[in-house]
């Protein structure tokens, strides 16, 4: 290999080597294109080409660079991981080792409860969904003396204190709140460093008591890979018993915060257990027109139908407005690149470089990127779909959208005022969307049985 500056032949003849020339590669478009080439090379098992491109990207995307560079670096890392796991090229893995690539395994932080509370409030990413959901829930449960909240959230009950607070301040007397938390078996970030949910549950109960509300706390271990079947089973049995006892006047709220995207959709290999509670569904449900009549319902579709069968008072669905479910790697990479630049862009506004929280945050984003790019099958839990697709699914499952009121929109705006100027929100007929510099980030929707 001729390493001469002017006559460099590697990675290809005439490749610019001076930093000035390389600087022009710093363009985001260029980086995206390089990543696409690299992904293609890996998919085609072209060891030499992928090696070359990886080398180039590695040189222009420093993990300490600007937000574009860090974004690209994370994607690069994910591609290397993918190559190592799926690809056949030993050269790629050898190169990864040779490059001494830092921490291939994403070290996401294990948060303490208070750390997580702080972390979740750094950015409106999660808090937006909480605020919108709380407003919708409050509207829906007006008048009920008992509220059963089923919480499917990756943020481990961080929404609950504000929800309790909101319910406590409503006028018509303190209700009983039953909180059933879906305790995900899988370790999906943000991971909380708790041996069990006891501590958290106790604190919530205490807190509720301090606001004059009785809270009953329960955790149901379940898994997203089967559409939270255990949780559904529990809720169904509960409901049957309630019917026997003619229990009344209880609102059932299903609060889904960024968790439903973990349920395998039609593009995932769909294995349902033979004794899954969903099996009774596939035979009894009419196949809707938009789903294929030959393929079985995915876990995602079945989950939604299952919730519908519980006749909830309201379902809140909050998730990231992105499209990560295509099986084609290059498309998925483009899609992810054009969405996940957002967290890198925002992090400068709320976390100084070198701070621990910033490292945690970026590790979390790297985990997401790696999951989207490098994992397949049930391991890939980052299966986001755009809000339109979710709306379609909900309608197929016989739900109808409920608009957010002005109060909700105002609450969100007030919350956003406390954050950097780039955040915004927009209210459409049946959803609220969080935006960063005009781009959609997170959507929030509320549904009732149709």
């Amino acid at each position: 290999m001729n390493n001469s500056q002017t006559h460099r032949l590697w990675p290809w003849p005439g490749f610019p080597t001076s930093s000035k020339a390389l600087g022009s590669f710093g363009d985001a478009n260029c980086m995206e294109q390089l990543l696409v080439y690299c992904a293609n090379a890996i998919e085609n098992n072209d060891a030499t080409l992928s090696h070359q491109i990886l080398w180039v990207i590695n040189n222009i995307a420093s993990p300490d660079g600007d937000s574009n560079q860090r974004l690209t670096c994370a994607f690069l890392r994910a591609l290397i991981v993918r190559a190592a796991m799926i690809g056949t090229s030993e050269i790629v893995t050898a190169m990864a080792r040779a490059m001494n690539y830092p921490n291939l395994a994403p070290q996401t932080h294990r948060f303490s409860v208070l750390e997580l509370a702080n972390f979740v409030d750094l950015t409106p990413w999660h808090r937006f969904g909480f605020t919108a959901a709380n407003a919708a829930i409050l509207d829906a449960v007006e008048g009920y003396s008992a509220i059963h909240i089923v919480d499917l959230s990756l943020t481990h009950c961080m929404q609950i204190p504000t929800l309790i607070d909101a319910i406590a301040t409503r006028l018509d007397g303190p209700p009983l709140i039953k909180l059933t938390v879906a305790g995900l078996i899988e370790d999906i970030p943000p991971i909380v460093d708790l041996f069990s949910y006891d501590e958290m549950g106790l604190k919530l109960v205490n807190f509720a008591r301090s606001r004059n509300i009785s809270l009953v706390f329960k955790v149901i271990p379940c898994s997203s890979s089967d559409g939270f079947a255990r949780l559904i089973e529990y809720l169904r049995i509960l409901q049957q018993q309630q019917q026997l006892l003619a229990a009344h006047d209880e609102a059932l709220v299903i609060n889904c915060q960024m968790t439903l995207h973990c349920i395998p959709d039609e593009t995932a290999i769909n294995i349902t257990n033979s004794d899954s509670p969903y099996n009774s569904f596939s035979s009894s449900c009419p196949v809707s027109s938009s789903s294929s009549s030959t393929s079985p319902l995915s876990a995602r579709a079945m989950f939604l139908k299952a919730i519908r069968s519980l006749n909830p008072t309201t379902v809140v669905l909050v998730d990231e407005d992105a499209y990560f479910t295509t099986n084609d790697l290059v498309d998925r990479l483009r899609s992810a690149f054009n969405y996940l630049w957002i967290p890198y862009d925002t992090v400068d506004t709320f976390l100084p470089r070198g701070s621990k929280q910033r490292q945690w945050y970026e590790a979390y984003i790297r985990w997401k990127i790696e999951n989207v790019i490098a994992h397949e099958g049930f391991d890939r839990v980052e299966r986001q779909e755009p809000k339109g697709r979710w709306a379609e699914r909900m309608r197929e499952a016989n739900f109808r959208a409920v608009a957010f009121g002005e109060a909700a929109a105002t609450e969100v705006k007030i919350m956003l005022d406390e954050h950097a100027a780039g955040w915004g929100s927009k209210k459409a007929e049946d959803n609220l969307v969080l935006t960063w510099k005009g781009h959609n980030v997170v959507f929030a929707t509320a549904w009732v049985p149709a």
């Binding site: 022009s24 710093g26 985001a28 478009n29 409860v113 208070l114 509370a117 702080n118 409030d121 605020t131 003396s145 008992a146 204190p161 504000t162 607070d165 406590a168 007397g173 009983l176 305790g183 078996i185 460093d193 041996f195 069990s196 949910y197 006891d198 501590e199 958290m200 549950g201 106790l202 604190k203 919530l204 109960v205 205490n206 807190f207 509720a208 008591r209 301090s210 004059n212 009785s214 809270l215 009953v216 706390f217 329960k218 955790v219 149901i220 271990p221 529990y234 049995i237 509960l238 018993q241 006892l245 229990a247 009344h248 006047d249 209880e250 630049w341 919350m415 406390e418 005009g438 781009h439």
Partner: protein
């Protein structure tokens, strides 16, 4: 030489481009060739696309930041505008010239940011306001020289700093742990999970506290809720009891069943709790609430200790040890398998059941309580008939035998069968461990029996009829304990009148 950019003469604009200073250049907005496009991230067009006819002015950073570009030659005083300098020169009796505003239509100017990597460096993204571009340059590319005193936030532009200082610290929420928040939702979330709240509720259980930081006013009204014939179960009959009774019914039935459903699933930890502390709800009107508060406060205090160290399981094991002792205290007479689950892989299913209807009363366990308070509790508690001993009940001494069920620890309940209990050693205690202090000796030394029907002394010589002893008396008692004075003497000196002359059977 500083470039004069005031629009005072039409010659200025053209002279700028010919100026030798090289500080400024004018280019038309149509010249797109040289500046590279900002990295397109599929952004929408920024609002305020400048007027295509406008002159694009690029100033150097020095010019942009210069505050006083016009300097008086006599006294070197600087001015931002030439007009002001001229007026000043009048004072020196120097020739001055004030220019009239040009009658010609002023051509609109837009400014680009001198920083080449900046998105506003591109003429198509120029800003229309000189002050605006100055502020932008300072904010994005400048040094942050202004610092807020309150919160140490730094600003590059003085007006930003002033605006912030006005609002900083005006809306503050303060958690008990000392952390300040400017946002209510962060405050609420933090407060719920902060230990400060847990500690406060622990204290709330010990004695009726004055309402502190609870936003709704602390609902602790110690004796309010509980039905009066029974002596106050403890201040721990939380006011939760009061609003709750109306909806006991639906709740009571409900939780029992799911527990059976889930019984099989998670590995069940052996000690069987009833009235899991996870529920602050109690469905009983009388002292059933105690059971829930027992665990809540227990958890709270053990949680506090958990939090103080950061390791997970070892502390939990210790907390479990706490629990184990206290669990014997209030076994359920129902068959509800409220299992405290230490599932290793997943979160638990701690069944948040309501305390079953007034099955038992378990006094809250306060491991950190003073001896005085403990004794007071002892006075209030009746030991159960079947001999769950007082101190086992207090968790100070583990009961070695499987503790018979504590049906009812009320003084008033005459179903107790105290008679047979006398054969227990000491106070029906099993193997005393080394917890508890001199109380141990006290107990070993006497063999009283429990139960209100016994006319004899209860173990501390405090009779029910005394209606609970005074703390003062207890203190006296305690101080006399140290000397190992036997109970009888102590009791006699205590002067519980009813007991004078009665045997210590």
């Amino acid at each position: 030489m500083p470039v004069d950019l005031d629009n005072s003469s039409s010659a200025t604009k053209t002279t700028v481009s010919n100026a030798a200073s090289g500080d400024a250049s004018v280019s038309s907005t149509h010249d797109q060739s040289s500046p590279p496009k900002p990295p397109p991230k599929k952004k929408r067009n920024q609002p305020g696309m400048p007027d295509p006819d406008a002159d694009v002015i690029a100033l150097s950073p020095k010019t942009l930041l210069a505050t006083n570009r016009f300097v008086c030659e006599i006294c070197n005083k600087g001015f931002q505008r030439d007009q002001n300098l001229q007026l000043h020169r009048r004072g020196h009796n120097l020739p001055w010239k004030l220019r009239q505003r040009s009658s010609k239509e002023v051509k609109k100017r837009v400014y680009v940011c001198p920083e080449p990597t900046c998105v506003h460096h591109d003429p198509s993204r120029a800003l229309g306001d000189l002050t605006g571009i100055k502020k932008h340059f300072c904010r994005k590319h400048g040094e942050k020289k202004w610092k807020c005193d309150n919160c140490s936030k730094k600003y590059a532009v003085q007006s930003d700093w002033k605006a912030h200082s006005k609002i900083c610290g005006t809306r503050q929420y303060k958690c008990d742990c000392g952390t300040l928040f400017s946002r209510r939702d962060s405050f609420v979330t933090h407060r719920a999970f902060c230990d400060a709240l847990a500690e406060e509720s622990v204290r709330a259980h010990k004695m009726p506290p004055p309402p502190t930081n609870n936003t709704d006013g602390d609902p602790v009204a110690p004796t309010a809720a509980v039905s009066s014939p029974t002596p106050p179960c403890a201040p721990e009959a939380t006011a939760v009891a009061s609003p709750i009774p109306p909806i006991q019914t639906p709740v009571t039935e409900l939780p029992e069943n799911p527990t059976q459903v889930l019984e099989e699933a998670p590995p069940v930890w052996t000690p069987r709790l009833s009235g899991s502390g996870i529920s602050s709800h109690n469905s009983s009107s009388s002292c059933g609430s105690g059971s829930s508060s027992l665990y809540t406060s227990l958890f709270a205090s053990s949680t506090v200790s958990l939090e103080s160290q950061n390791s997970g399981s070892s502390d939990l094991i210790r907390a479990m040890a706490h629990l184990e002792r206290s669990m014997e205290l209030a076994p359920s007479s129902s068959t509800e398998p409220i299992s405290y689950c230490l599932a290793t892989n997943h979160g638990l299913s701690l069944f948040g059941t309501a305390a079953p209807e007034s099955r038992q009363y378990a006094p809250p366990l306060q491991p950190a309580m003073s001896a005085t308070a403990l004794l007071q509790k002892a006075a209030q508690m009746g030991a159960a008939a079947s001999g769950g001993s007082l101190l086992v009940g207090l968790g100070l001494l583990p009961s070695s035998s499987a503790s018979p069920r504590l049906e009812n620890l009320h003084w008033n309940d005459h179903k107790a069968e105290p008679a047979g209990a006398a054969n227990r050693s000491g106070l029906g205690l099993g193997v005393p461990s080394n917890e508890g202090s001199g109380l141990k000796e006290l107990m070993m030394g006497s063999s009283p029996t429990f139960g209100p029907t016994q006319p004899t002394l209860d173990f501390l010589g405090l009779g029910m009829a005394a209606g609970g002893s005074t703390i003062g008396g207890l203190s006296a008692l305690i101080t006399s304990i140290g000397g190992g004075i036997d109970v009888a003497a102590a009791a006699a000196s205590f002067g519980g009148g009813d007991y004078a002359g009665k045997d210590l059977a």
